[in-house]
């Protein structure tokens, strides 16, 4: 018997600042269902990397060098950037 499941894709999430420090890695790779959006990735990150769970709701996402809102689809490249609120200046 075959278990059917939603096809998954792999997404590399590049982290900065407290997110990188908590994850203990510059990049984490997570599996998300195809056709996921940033909002879905936000949830998956918190579940896959427990140390990021307290930050997940506050993370900002970027695709390349542009901010990506929660309704943005994940990019074909499978590469996303995530970081907590900025504090330069």
């Amino acid at each position: 018997m075959t278990v059917t499941s939603t096809p998954q894709i792999s997404v590399s999430v590049r982290l900065f600042a407290a997110a990188r420090e908590r994850a203990g890695a510059e990049v984490v790779t997570v599996q998300v269902p195809v056709n996921s959006r940033i909002a879905d990735l936000r949830i998956v990150i918190g579940e896959t990397v427990p140390s990021l769970k307290p930050l997940a709701a506050h993370l900002l996402f970027a695709i390349g060098t542009e901010y990506a809102t929660d309704d943005a689809p994940l990019p074909a490249s499978g590469e996303v950037v995530a970081f907590p609120p900025v504090s330069g200046g």
Partner: protein, 158 residues
Amino acid sequence: MIQLTHDPIDFSALTESVRSPACGAVVLFLGTVREMTNGAQTLRLAYDAYPAMAEAKIAELEAMARERWPLQEVRIVHRLGTLELGEVSVAIAVSSPHRADAFDAGRWLIDRFKAVVPIWKQEHWADGTTEWVHPGIADPPAESRESGSPLPRERGQG
């Protein structure tokens, strides 16, 4: 021009570079490393960035400011790495024919910079601990001094 640097910012050269006979006003803003924040003492700060996006966002801010105000020259530089007390973390210099525009643009640029440019500050407190500053997540100094905080105190890289 260089917008992110690990070297001390030469704010004199930056200011000099925006002066112009077309202008009656120059405004320079410097962000400097302050020792006390809400009663907590800082020894030094470390700044990290997502460089490609930071430079793209700074260029966008300059373009937006130029649309809003008649600016002659705009220079924005942020320093990365470890900064001692009193050192300059960010310098923004603008020149304009009239002073109101130079003040408005300078202020808008640093306000927007702090909201959108992916750079992060890590406090190195006098008690030996470190802490990333992430506005809106918590009041960092207060939280860092509580035990049992839902966001355990960050430990520094050095």
